[in-house]
């Protein structure tokens, strides 16, 4: 009896061992195994390609702009637009102030309107064809080329439609002005803000909402106390990324009449009167100086330096977005 038991034992053990090794063996040598490894290397290679492109761009520009940034960073940041690259005091102060205000406009107009629209669409709107149609159109708007938004801004704010309420916009913003630029770019990023906020609002598990409703919370209490805190990291990332998109746009600003040559105005960061005045912005300066480098070689270096500064601010915003997201996600768990 004991022998038989041991025999059975060993046979069972052998059988198990065999099936285990077989299973492990097939995974390593099989066709799917090779494919798996191959695919992994292809993906890594693709990742490196994009990283290398990025690195080359950044290094190339940093080298071009190094002289300007290292020898006269202070005067470059505080200087103004000049007609020749050798002129004393050439710099990007006006562009920095312009881009700063564009970012402020996006934060003040696009963020609240976009987030409110997203909350309405996700939580309040009836799920019918009209809502679906509106959502589809918002998605389409996010894909419309930025120059088209420039045209929209041109007609509403600069030329001025002689129609009902629209005609007031022109006198309000003062035509081809910084306010017109800020509002146009706010409209430009509004669909992106709505879509990313909507996606973030969708992430809350329905059982958490039900739990809140279950203890007698009103709809707004559920949104305020559960949905928004849960969606905050996603909303923040999306909105801040859309802000960096706004300050990088050049095409709509050209249509709005951004100043490319000499801008007489040199206002401080918080001089509000400049909102109704002619303006320029970082992407405009970069575009313009890059175009000019054929005639005047020094503009190329200045353009590179300006790109480095713009990149610095864009990366700063993106880094803030990531840090805030991590902070809120930690708080959530």
């Amino acid at each position: 009896m004991a022998i038989f038991g041991r025999l059975l034992d060993r046979r069972t053990k052998d059988h198990i061992q065999k099936s285990v090794t077989q299973a492990l063996g097939t995974k390593r040598s099989g066709r799917s195994g090779i494919l798996d490894t191959l695919l992994r290397y292809i993906i890594i290679a693709l990742l490196f390609i994009s990283l290398i492109i990025l690195a080359v761009l950044i290094i190339d520009i940093a080298i071009d702009g190094f002289d300007v940034l290292s020898s006269r960073l202070g005067s470059f940041l505080s200087g103004t637009l000049r007609s020749r690259s050798v002129d004393e005091g050439i710099g990007i102060q006006q562009g920095l102030v312009g881009s700063f205000w564009i970012a402020v406009f996006v934060a003040v107009f696009a963020f609240p309107i976009g987030i409110a629209a997203a909350i309405y669409l996700e939580e309040y709107a009836p799920k019918n064809r009209l809502t679906k149609f509106i959502e589809l159109n918002i998605r389409n708007l996010a894909g419309v080329p930025s120059v088209v938004y420039g045209l929209l801004g041109l007609f509403i704010f600069v030329k001025g439609f002689d129609v009902f309420l629209l005609r007031n916009f022109k006198s309000l913003v003062g035509g081809s002005s910084l306010a017109a630029a800020g509002l146009t770019l706010s409209i430009l990023v509004l669909p992106i803000v709505i879509i990313t906020a909507q996606e973030a609002l969708k992430t809350i598990p329905s059982i958490i909402k039900e739990g809140a409703y279950g203890v007698g919370a009103t709809k707004w209490q559920v949104i305020r106390g559960q949905v928004l805190p849960y969606a905050a990291p996603g909303i923040l990332t999306g909105t801040l990324l859309s802000m960096s998109r706004a300050i990088g746009e050049a095409a709509p600003l050209i249509l709005l009449g951004a100043v490319t040559g000499r801008l007489g105005l040199k206002a401080g960061l918080f001089d509000f009167y400049q909102l109704q005045e002619r303006f320029t912005a970082m992407p405009i300066i970069i575009t313009n100086w890059t175009q000019k480098q054929g005639r005047d070689i020094g503009f190329g270096e200045n353009a590179a330096a300006a790109i480095v500064v713009l990149l610095f601010f864009v990366l700063l915003i993106n880094a803030t977005a990531i840090l805030l997201r991590n902070y809120f996600e930690k708080k959530r768990a």
Binding site: I207, I208, A212, Y213, G214, V215, G216, A217, A333
Partner: protein
């Protein structure tokens, strides 16, 4: 079991309540807190539950049992108007709470949910601290005037849910750090923090291990002195162990449309349902021959 002679099958129940027609029904010993007549639930075109006639009695545990898709959870979610959250859900018929039509036009569903609390199938603590989880209800209901009152409510609720001793040292830490069973007891504490009349429990132990399940069952036994409890369960032993009354639901296919509609087959004291049910379908189900 008291009230053994109160109950009979569903058809008789209708007759009895028609005779009485008041909240104090039967032989006056017990009062029913919920009164449902011809309750029908639709999800869009789908007729999910048909013609439920059911009285729930105060300070008792009523269990809903039946196979999947028989509509027991749908019926449960009518009692605190949770079905309102599903846009396509439609409820027809009479559903009264203490003589008040729950689906009447003047009824505020938010107010209903403050009186009739709910514990869900999966533990669903908020992504906040243990303290904030329990305090959330009293806060949104405006129940406490100051911090120390809120502290009292939180402590009392956690004690009531038999969780206080395990968490009193870490009230500020995340609720997600608790085990599944602890999370579910936290959800019970959260539900009773707003001092409801009724607790609805939708398969509260389905994701818990046997030890955690036992703890919840013991807890429910203590809670029924103060609360009316309705529990949906897939576990027949659980229903037999803890419920005073048991309702058996099942689902039948409509011969014309081919759609499955849930219905209440039998409602009686638990002992009767599990030992000697009137309906053959109930017997088949509780003896494990079907479902």
């Amino acid at each position: 079991m008291n009230g053994a002679n109160n109950m009979s099958d569903v058809n008789n129940m209708t007759d009895v309540s028609d005779l009485n027609g008041t909240a104090n029904s039967m032989n006056g010993e017990q009062e029913h807190i919920f009164y449902a007549r011809d309750l029908n639930i639709y999800y869009g075109d789908h007729h999910a539950v048909a013609d439920v006639n059911l009285d729930i009695y105060s300070k008792e545990i009523t269990a809903f049992i039946g196979p999947s898709g028989c509509g027991k959870t749908s019926v449960l979610r009518c009692y605190n108007r949770m079905n309102d959250l599903i846009p396509i859900a439609k409820v027809e018929g009479t559903l009264e709470y203490k003589g008040l039509n729950l689906y009447g036009s003047q009824i505020d569903p938010v107010e209903v949910r403050r009186r009739i609390g709910m514990v869900f199938q999966k533990p669903n603590p908020f992504p906040k601290s243990i303290y904030e989880n329990v305090a959330y209800g009293p806060k949104v209901c405006g129940m406490s005037r100051n911090r120390s009152e809120l502290d009292d409510i939180v402590e009392r609720s956690l004690k009531r849910a038999a969780l206080w001793d395990e968490v009193k040292g870490r009230l500020k830490s995340s609720a997600f750090g608790l085990s599944g069973g602890q999370q579910q007891r936290l959800c019970i504490a959260r539900a009773i923090a707003v001092d409801p009349d009724v607790l609805l429990m939708d398969e509260p132990c389905s994701s818990l291990d046997p030890i955690a399940t036992t703890r919840i069952e013991e807890l429910m036994d203590g809670l029924k002195n103060d609360y009316t409890i309705i529990i949906v369960t897939h576990n027949m032993q659980q229903a037999a162990r803890i419920s005073d009354k048991t309702a058996f639901f099942t689902t039948e296919e409509n011969a014309e449309t081919g759609m499955r509609t849930g219905m209440l087959i039998e409602f009686d004291i638990a002992e009767k349902i599990f030992s000697n049910p009137n309906d053959e379908r109930t017997e088949n189900y509780v003896t494990g021959r079907f479902g």
